[in-house]
């Protein structure tokens, strides 16, 4: 077991390096890897590097959030947006657009919207201080649907310009407009991921059942709250900057589990790696396929991710 783990880690690191080079050299202008550091290419490399950094943040962040929600809610279909963050952020952003706020305030508005949605979900699901999985899921679904309805309504009564912004939220984009915001998001993702990793024991235990986790000595209510708050924070921050990118938080953790098992001590770092690779690859593909038209990242992650997952899943079924 340890040997095959080593191979997998090495494999993923190599894949990561390859993905970065792939992302830096492909796009509107193909730059062979030998010419990557030339002066004349600096502007384009800079822009691509920013996208790659955001892709890593988004890929790791969404994967880790997916891991947390799947463990805490003990539900294999939990994705990072289950607790209402995506619809909340969409509502915040669309409201800001409709009211004509400056572009700079859109991430802030989106974050407030996401925070509001999550607070409502917690309030609805709270049962005398306990957050039960089924309550969280139900509340999350209800809030998501309600907020999405309000978003559609807001779009229908506002001028055309809001529609362009909405496309971005629905399908995501890794375009970087502001380096400070990017740094902030990367910091949030990095710190939150580190803290979530520190809780790997709790995640392992919670995955075996809430009662059992308690019997193993895990302070389950406190851990759940911390983990869910961190996951919501990361998801909300990412949605503000990249819009809604589906699928990643669902399939990357599953793929890593199929390869290396569910022990969160391995699952979290390997999912960060694989998530980054996946996002870089999908983003580059979206830029290259129909240039100059950009295919939104949410579309490429779905189209690329689905077949891969089906293949892996079928292999696992055969094994059982």
């Amino acid at each position: 077991m340890p040997k095959s783990n080593f191979m997998i880690i090495m494999g993923l690191l190599l894949l990561f390096a390859g993905a970065v080079i792939f992302g830096l050299s492909h796009g509107s202008a193909h730059i062979p890897w030998q010419e990557l550091f030339l002066e004349k290419n600096r502007a384009i490399i800079y822009v691509r590097l920013l996208r790659i950094i955001l892709a890593c943040a988004a890929g790791s962040g969404l994967s880790v959030c997916g891991i947390v929600l799947q463990a805490v809610l003990r539900n294999a279909l939990a994705d990072p947006y289950l607790l209402g963050t995506s619809s909340g952020a969409s509502l915040g952003a669309v409201t800001a657009l409709a009211l004509g706020f400056n572009v700079l305030y859109m991430p802030v508005a989106a974050f407030c919207g996401a925070a509001l949605a999550v607070l409502i979900v917690y309030f609805v699901a709270n049962e005398r201080g306990r957050l039960y999985a089924h309550s969280l899921i139900l509340a999350g679904v209800i809030v998501s649907i309600a907020f999405s309805g309000i978003v559609v309504f807001t779009v229908s009564i506002s001028p055309n310009e809001a529609l362009y912004g909405l496309m971005w939220w629905l399908w995501g984009s890794l375009e970087v407009y502001n380096v400070q915001v990017l740094s902030l998001v990367c910091a949030v993702v990095a710190i939150a991921t580190a803290i979530i990793f520190i809780f790997y024991q709790d995640l392992n235990a919670i995955s075996l059942g809430e009662e059992r986790a308690r019997y193993l000595g895990v302070n389950i209510e406190l851990s759940k709250k911390i983990l869910l708050i961190l996951a919501s924070l990361v998801t909300a921050s990412l949605v503000c900057v990249c819009g809604v990118i589906g699928f990643v938080g669902l399939i990357v953790p599953h793929t890593v589990r199929l390869l290396c098992g569910a022990n969160h001590r391995r699952l979290i770092p390997l999912s960060c790696l694989l998530g980054s690779v996946f996002m870089i690859f999908c983003d580059t593909l979206g830029r290259v396929l129909f240039a100059p038209v950009q295919v939104p990242i949410g579309v490429t992650t779905a189209i690329v991710g689905a077949p891969i997952f089906i293949i892996l899943f079928k292999k696992r079924q055969k094994r059982l």
Binding site: M1, R74, E127, I198, F199, Q201, N204, A205, S207, L208, G209, E210, E211, R212, R214, Y215, L216, G217, V218, N219, R257, G261, A262, N263, R265, L320
Partner: protein, 266 residues
């Protein structure tokens, strides 16, 4: 003999039904082997949850080694008390990974398992006859195998008090007795206090020195096997007719079920 566990006038329930346990009191001696029996819905599992601090009592208190259980830290408590519940477990962990989680109470937050921990895990796997399953996923096991693995996990905690909620419900007689034999061995050789909730009255009679008979949230009878397992008690609580005789080998009580149509004839 000192008391390792004592329940004093415990009442508890769930939202919507707040009188599942009504005023139960008993003490458990260190190194004893206690069985808890009772009809479905009498509150046995709730009792386990109360001791495990999953459910809070609405009245009364529970003391572990003289100290109230609410005063124990999470891991501190789990180093002393190991509980095997009936909760479903099919996350894609391997058996070895799952059993190693039993070492969590002994590990600090970021501490990795050491050789000693791996040895303990291997030992408990061998004790529960699940060593050959160690690389399989939990979802690949039969329910009986999974029960043994969960027992191994609790054993990996190296508890002083081990509480098991129906550990033999999915096991055939061979494996069931294997677990109980193991528990008996641990009880005698290592002095681990055992509390086991069982539905099989005969097995309870065989292995338990003391039986607590619960009915409708209260203690119906508390004592040795012959005191508790009388045909009058069984008939009163289970509303079924049995004949109680002595096991020729072990001299413990043995219940013979009498089918309903025969009762009518007699």
């Amino acid at each position: 003999m000192s008391l390792i566990l004592s329940l004093e006038n415990i009442s508890a329930g769930y939202p919507g039904n707040d009188r599942v346990i009504k005023g139960i009191s008993f003490g458990v001696d260190k190194g004893s082997f206690t069985g808890i029996i009772g009809p479905n819905g009498c509150g046995k599992s709730t009792l386990v949850r109360l001791i495990g601090r999953v459910v809070k009592p609405s009245a009364g208190n529970i003391k572990l080694m003289g100290k109230e259980i609410v005063q124990f830290g999470a891991k501190e408590f789990s180093r002393i008390v190991g509980i095997v519940s009936q909760e479903e477990a099919d996350f894609p962990f391997t058996v070895k990974e799952a059993v190693l989680m039993g070492r969590i109470p002994h590990l600090k937050r970021l501490e990795f398992e050491k050789d000693a921990d791996f040895n303990i895990a291997d030992n408990v796997l061998k004790l529960t006859d699940t060593f050959h399953l160690r690389d399989k996923f939990l979802s690949e096991l039969s329910s009986g195998e999974r029960q043994r693995v969960m027992t191994a996990m609790a054993l990996a905690q190296e508890p002083q008090l081990l509480i098991l909620d129906e550990p033999t419900s999915h096991l055939d007689i061979g494996h069931g007795m294997q677990i109980l034999d193991l528990l008996k061995k641990l009880n005698r050789e290592k002095g681990i206090t055992i509390i086991v909730v069982l539905h099989d009255l005969n097995l309870t009679a065989e292995y338990c020195d003391r039986i607590i008979f619960i009915d409708n949230g209260c203690i119906f009878k508390d004592g040795g096997p012959f005191d508790v397992l009388t045909y009058e008690n069984i008939e009163a609580v289970y509303k079924t007719v049995v004949v109680v005789k002595e096991n020729p080998v072990t001299k413990k009580p043995y219940l013979f079920p009498i089918p309903g149509d025969l009762c009518k004839r007699v």
